[in-house]
């Protein structure tokens, strides 16, 4: 089969439900654009698809990729792919726009992925904790993180089964080379669902508020090859530093200054080696598990390597 014929077959499949158009006709249109008008084949295909979308009164996102592929969540590594997944609804969040019907987290054995379901797609409601077979979801990417979008071409089938959602935690290790500002004893905005960190007693959203104390460390782990920015929440900060929230508040009260807390923390943890694991949030790894790394275990292996060079 020629290249053009293959494209024609693909396009034909995409419109087989909605338009009465033959493979030959599609191929000849492609042929015209490519041979006579010197349009690159991808662009030619795009233009023809646009024409048919108009004719069928469809949106590009309604288009199925012809054949979709069954995939695991961990396989999602490119945008704009059509996939079939079997997933559990791990979490549902509040949509922040009217165009979104539902937004949340889906997961399977291999990990979790954010999903968005458009309001105009008029799909049935997904329920938290239920397992679904979703056919024809489209992957998307934003700042290196992938998500899937459910659209009007997606079919949803609820399965009467459960599945274990695996974690896709990232594990990083290195020397803790920096503790960034905004670490130590901090105050957060008490407004419902806000939790912003206060700057001089002010929340950027709610103004002057009576803040609530919390502990946090924003640290940098560096292994000599790359750096990993890491956030330790209250629990992991307490574990890392041995300073509890109550103790931190007492220290700050005695000194009439919250800075003493982070100074003490710097002394205890900077310049030591750690391995942490947890989910990633933007460029941060959230340190749920922390291990202090002590004496080296691989000196002999490295010595053998050095001698053999």
């Amino acid at each position: 089969m020629t290249d053009l014929r293959e494209h024609a077959v693909d396009v034909h499949e995409q419109f087989s439900d909605s338009l009465d158009v033959g493979v030959d006709e599609i191929e000849s249109r492609l042929e015209t654009l490519v041979s006579e008008y010197r349009v690159p084949v991808d662009e030619a295909r795009r233009s023809i698809v646009s024409t048919y979308l108009d004719e069928a009164d469809m949106d590009r996102e309604d288009l199925s990729g012809g054949s979709t592929e069954s995939a695991s969540v961990a396989d999602i590594d490119a945008p704009e792919e059509w996939l079939d997944v079997t997933v559990k609804v791990v979490d549902l969040w509040e949509p922040n726009a009217d165009s979104i019907a539902q937004v949340g987290l889906l997961g399977d054995e291999t990990g979790t992925v954010k999903f968005t379901k458009w309001a105009k797609s008029e799909l049935p409601e997904l329920e938290e904790g239920a397992v679904y077979r979703l056919e024809g979801v489209v992957t998307d990417e934003y700042q290196g993180r992938f998500s899937v979008k459910l659209n009007s071409a997606t079919t949803i089938e609820e399965l009467d089964t459960d599945l274990e959602v695996g974690d896709d935690d990232t594990e990083v290790e290195g020397a803790l080379v920096d503790i960034q500002s905004g670490s130590g004893l901090i105050k957060r905005c008490p407004e419902e669902d806000c939790t912003r960190v206060l700057q001089n007693g002010r929340c950027s959203e709610h103004g002057d508020v009576e803040g609530e104390f919390d502990l946090r460390i924003k640290g940098v782990l560096d292994d000599g090859i790359e750096i990993h920015e890491t956030i330790f929440n209250q629990e992991s900060t307490e574990e890392l530093t041995g300073i509890s929230l109550e103790e931190a508040q007492e220290m700050a009260m005695d000194a009439l200054d919250t800075e003493v807390v982070v100074e003490e923390m710097r002394e205890t943890v900077l310049g030591r080696y750690y391995r942490v694991s947890g989910p990633t949030l933007g460029r941060y790894v959230l340190a749920n598990d922390i291990e202090r790394l002590g004496a080296p275990t691989d000196a002999e292996r490295v010595l053998i390597r050095a001698r053999s060079m």
Binding site: V177, G271, V302
Partner: protein, 212 residues
């Protein structure tokens, strides 16, 4: 690597013997605020380093204001670190430290020319931490490994073995620069790695003997 977002500089690992040979510095843009890099003889740029060793001596060498010098000894040589009023935390560690003590230092390489025309390399600390022997030993092995990675990449510029986790193209670039600037005897640095690791092994043996 995106050029638009300033990314934090990785803290390179180098033994004292190599660090003190890194006398050539350069910038990669004309911007006044562009980072200054020291060129490690094994072919890597370093704007920041992480080192460990034994703090053996501290001395206030300042005239009008405090200016502390610390000698930090690793298995291959001595790092000199200087901290003054702009590094208050590191200064207070040097002021209060009881030597000898194991320390780790995150800092920036600095070079200065002596009256005799020699270029000396020192370390301006961002932080100094008093640590335990296990942390210092872990650094020795890690630094050995990173140094071997660089030596391998240096030779591998010909044999095309990319360094572990590194950027082969960039490594080639700085290897070429090091070749031009220093014409380094790479075996010196490999031998330093070997003797550092042998030190560790014999320490471990002595500890076992002491426990027995």
């Amino acid at each position: 690597m995106s050029a638009s977002v300033p990314t934090r500089e990785v803290a390179r690992r180098a033994f004292a013997t190599e660090f003190n040979d890194a006398t050539y510095t350069f910038k990669e843009s004309d911007d006044d605020r562009a980072p200054v890099y020291s060129l490690l003889p094994t072919g890597q740029r370093a704007n920041r380093v992480f080192v460990a060793g034994t703090l053996t001596e501290t001395e206030d060498v300042g005239n009008d204001s405090e200016y502390w010098r610390g000698r930090i000894v690793d298995p291959t040589g001595t790092f000199f670190t200087y901290a003054g009023q702009y590094q208050p935390e590191a200064t207070s560690v040097l002021r209060e430290a009881e030597t000898p003590a194991y320390v780790t230092v995150v800092g920036k390489p600095r070079t200065y020319e002596t009256d005799e025309g020699d270029v000396n390399v020192s370390l301006r600390p961002e932080s100094i931490s008093v640590v335990d022997g296990a942390t210092r030993n872990r650094w020795v092995v890690e630094t050995a490994e990173r140094t071997l990675d660089r030596i391998e990449a240096f030779g591998g510029a010909a044999s095309k073995t990319p360094p572990e986790g590194g950027d082969a193209v960039a490594a080639d670039e700085y290897a070429a620069m090091a070749d031009t600037q220093y014409d380094p005897e790479l075996s010196t640095y490999r031998d330093a790695v070997i003797s550092a690791l042998e030190d560790l092994e014999s320490e471990a043996d002595e500890e076992l003997a002491a426990e027995a």
